[in-house]
Symmetry: C2
C-alpha cells in the first residue's frame, strides 16, 4: 500500500511503545495452525455444550423484523430487560444490586479494562494475585499501571503478604487503588478463595481504604464432588461499604461468541464506567444481548447449569486421572473444584517456557506459568485447560505432554538457575 515506509515509533503513545501481547492469545493462534494439535492452552468452553437449538430458535424469532431494536443502536448501559435478568442472577448469588448499579459490557475483558481506565492513572498500583489472569495484567499494564503481586495459599490470597505489599507500595509513595481478584476457580490456578478469607478481605479493604475488583466468570461452574454453591458466595454479597466492583459473564456458561458480560458496582462508579464504555464501543452487541436475555427468560441458562457442571467436572477428572497415571510424582496440582483450569507444578529444573517449543513439536500445548506472574517467577508451572478437548484428546494430550516432560528431565544441560 505504501512505497516509503515511515518509522511509526515517533507517533506512538508511551503505552503503545511498551505494549506486549498476551501469551495465551499467542498460544491460541499457534494451536490453530498446526494440524492435529491438542491444545490445553486457551480457556475456551466446549461448543458441544452450547444450546445451539435454543439459540437458533430464539434468533429466528428475534429477527422476524418486528422489533427494530434487535439490530439498532441502544443504551450504552445495556438492553434494559437484560440488565433486569442480571439483577435476578445476582440475587441468586446473594447480591442485591439496583438497576442503576449494573452495566452490560462487551465481555468481562471490557469490564476489567474500563475499571482500570476509571480508577488508574499511569504509575498507580494494582494488586494482583501471584499468579493472575493475563488478560487483566495486560489491560492494567496498557493503561500504564504498576502491578504488585500478592502470594496465594491453598485457600487463596495470602492476607499477610497482601498487607506487606500494600505497606511497601505506599511507603514508596505510590497510590494503591484496588485489588483485582478471581475468588472462584481462579484463572490460572483453579483455586477457591475460602469464605473466611473473603470476609477478611472485605475487612482489610475497609481498613486499608482499598477497592476490590471481584472477577467471577466461573462461579456457576463449581463441581459437585468437591464444592457447593455456598462456597462460591461473592464478596459483593457482603459488601456493606460499597467497596466491591463485581464482574461476571455469560461467556463460560452460554457462549463467548456473544460478547456479553456485566458488572455491578456503586452507582457513582457505574456512571463513570458508562462514559468510558460509550467512547469505546457505544454499546455491546444488540442481537447478542437480546439472545442472552431471551435465553435467560426461557430458563436455558439456569436449566443447563447442572449439566455444564457435570460436563466440565468429568473432563477435570479425566485430566487428573491421566496426569496421575502418566506423570505420577513428577507433577502436582491443587484439585480444581470448578472452572476450566488445572495448575500443574513440575520439578524445579523444568523451564516451561523453554519446553513449549518442544511441546509444540509433539503437538501438545499449554500456557507457561510465567505468563501469569508479575514478579517473573513461575518457570516450572503450567496452566492446563481441560474445558475444550474431548476425553480422548485429554488422555492423548497428557500422554504427549508426558513424553515431552520426560525428555526434558533427561536433557543433559537442563538449566538449573532461575531468578
Amino acid at each position: 500500500m505504501s512505497d516509503i515506509m515511515i518509522n511509526y515509533d515517533r507517533f506512538l503513545s508511551k503505552a503503545a511503545l511498551k505494549s506486549q501481547g498476551s501469551a495465551i492469545r499467542k498460544m491460541g493462534v499457534m494451536a490453530v495452525r498446526v494440524p492435529d494439535m491438542i491444545s490445553f492452552a486457551p480457556g475456551y468452553p466446549d461448543p458441544a455444550a452450547y444450546a445451539w437449538d435454543e439459540f437458533r430458535e430464539i434468533t429466528a424469532r428475534l429477527l422476524d423484523g418486528h422489533q427494530g431494536s434487535v439490530l439498532q443502536y441502544g443504551p450504552t448501559r445495556g438492553h434494559k430487560p437484560l440488565i433486569e435478568a442480571c439483577m435476578e442472577i445476582l440475587e441468586g448469588r446473594g447480591i442485591r444490586a439496583a438497576f442503576e448499579e449494573l452495566m452490560i459490557t462487551t465481555g468481562s475483558q471490557q469490564g476489567i479494562e474500563l475499571v482500570g481506565k476509571v480508577l488508574l492513572d499511569p504509575g498507580d498500583v494494582v494488586l494482583v494475585e501471584l499468579p493472575a489472569y493475563t488478560g487483566a495484567i495486560s489491560a492494567f499494564r496498557n493503561l500504564g499501571a504498576s502491578l504488585a503481586g500478592v502470594r496465594q495459599e491453598a485457600d487463596g490470597i495470602d492476607l499477610e503478604d497482601l498487607d506487606r505489599v500494600v505497606s511497601r507500595e505506599r511507603a514508596a509513595g505510590r497510590a494503591v487503588r484496588f485489588l483485582y481478584v478471581v475468588p472462584n476457580f481462579q484463572n490460572p490456578t483453579g483455586l477457591l478463595l475460602s469464605l473466611a478469607k473473603r470476609k477478611a478481605l472485605l475487612e482489610y479493604a475497609s481498613r486499608a481504604d482499598l477497592l476490590i475488583v471481584e472477577d467471577d466468570p466461573y462461579g456457576a461452574l463449581y463441581f459437585d464432588d468437591t464444592a457447593t454453591a455456598a462456597d462460591t458466595r461473592p464478596m459483593k454479597a457482603d459488601d456493606t461499604e460499597g467497596r466491591v466492583i463485581y464482574l461476571s459473564s455469560f461467556s463460560k456458561t452460554l457462549a463467548p461468541g456473544f460478547r456479553v458480560a456485566w458488572l455491578a458496582a456503586p452507582e457513582p462508579l457505574v456512571s463513570k464506567l458508562e462514559l468510558f464504555k460509550q467512547t469505546e464501543d457505544l454499546m455491546s452487541p444488540a442481537l447478542d444481548q437480546h439472545v442472552i436475555c431471551e435465553a435467560h427468560r426461557r430458563g436455558v441458562l439456569m436449566g443447563r447449569l447442572p449439566m455444564l457442571r457435570r460436563f466440565y467436572q468429568e473432563k477435570r477428572t479425566v485430566m487428573q486421572d491421566a496426569l496421575r497415571a502418566k506423570l505420577g510424582d513428577l507433577v502436582s496440582w491443587p484439585e480444581p473444584k470448578g472452572g476450566f483450569f488445572l495448575w500443574a507444578t513440575l520439578p524445579d529444573q523444568v523451564d516451561c517456557d523453554a519446553m513449549l517449543v518442544r511441546a509444540v513439536d509433539q503437538r501438545v500445548i499449554y500456557v507457561a506459568g510465567s505468563a501469569f506472574y508479575v514478579d517473573g517467577t513461575g518457570h516450572n508451572r503450567m496452566r492446563l485447560s481441560f474445558s475444550l478437548p474431548s476425553h480422548e484428546k485429554i488422555v492423548e494430550g497428557v500422554a504427549r505432554l508426558t513424553a515431552v516432560v520426560q525428555a526434558e528431565l533427561s536433557r543433559p544441560t537442563a538449566p538449573a538457575v532461575h531468578a
Copy 2:
C-alpha cells in the same frame, strides 16, 4: 446495596474525574422516554431498510451447530474470511490493503478510541474539524488529549486554517499527532471533502509530518442526484507514504446492532492496535462477524446499496422541502449529498442549547450544534438526522420545530451575546 456510601472521587483517575457524557447519546435516551416524540437527534439507520429475511436465514444456517467457531472465542484481528471480504470492499473503493493491514473492530467507535490509545499521550494534540463528530471528541478527551479545531468551508476543511493551527500548537510546545477527518458526508455537517482538498491534505500531512485518521462510515451512501462514487474516493486510496488510518463500518449499511466495523492502516500500527483491542474486548462478536461475512458473500450488502442510497436520498429531500416550506429564510444549510445529516443554521439570536428544552415540550428533538465544536461556538446551529423518521414524521417534526423556532424569535428577552 451499601449502608455507608463512600465518596469515590479519591479513587478516580484524572480522566474519569474530568469525563463528560455525549450530548447525542443523552438526546437518544431522552427521546425514548417521551411518548410521540419525533427525533432528529441520533444518527440511527432505519430498521425498515435492514435485510431482515437474509439475516434470519443466514443466522439459522450459522447456528446449526456444525461450526463451533460461530460462537467461540476467535482471533483479536477478526474472523479471517470477514477480513478478506473487507479487502474486497476496500478494493472497490480504490484501496489495496494487505491482509495484515486490516483489523475488525467492535464498531468504528472502537477503532477511533484504539487509534487514540496507540497514538496519544495526555496533553498531545488531535486536530479535528469545526464542527466534528462528538464520539471522536469524547474518545480523545477521555484519553487526556487536547483538541484543536480547524475551520471548514463548503468543500471541507480549510487548509490555511489547518496550517495555522498546527503551527500555533507546535509553537506552544505541544505534540500534534494526527488529524481526525470525516471526508464523506461528515457528521454533523453532511459536507463532502473535495477531491482537490483530499490530495492537498495528503501533501500537507507529508510536509507537516502528520498522520490522518480518515473515518468513512457514510461513503457508500452518496445520493445520485448530487454525487457519484468517484466523489467519495478515500484519501487512503492515494496514500503512498502510509500516513492514513482508514476506518469504515457496516453499521450504516447493514445494521449497527451487529457491532462490526474495520480499519486499514500500516501494519506496524495494526499490530499495536491489535494489542490494545485485545485488552479491551479480546475480539469483536463472533456471530455478528459471521453474519456480516456471509451477507457480503451472498451479495446482500452490495446488492442493497442502490436501494439504500435512494431510500435515504428521499428522506433528505423530504426534510429539505419541509424546511424550505415551513422555515423559509430563517434556516440555511449545505445540501447533504449523502449520509444521514442536515446541518441547519438559524438566526444568530437563537440559542439551540437553550431552545432544546422547549423543543422537547413540543415533542421534537435535535442535537444542538455546540456539542460538535471544540472551541465553544455553534450556538445557532443544529444537527437534524433525517435517516430514521418516516416521511410523515419528518414533515410533522419540521412543523413542530418551526413552531419552536418562531416562538424563540418572538421571545422578549432572547439572549444576544455569545462567546
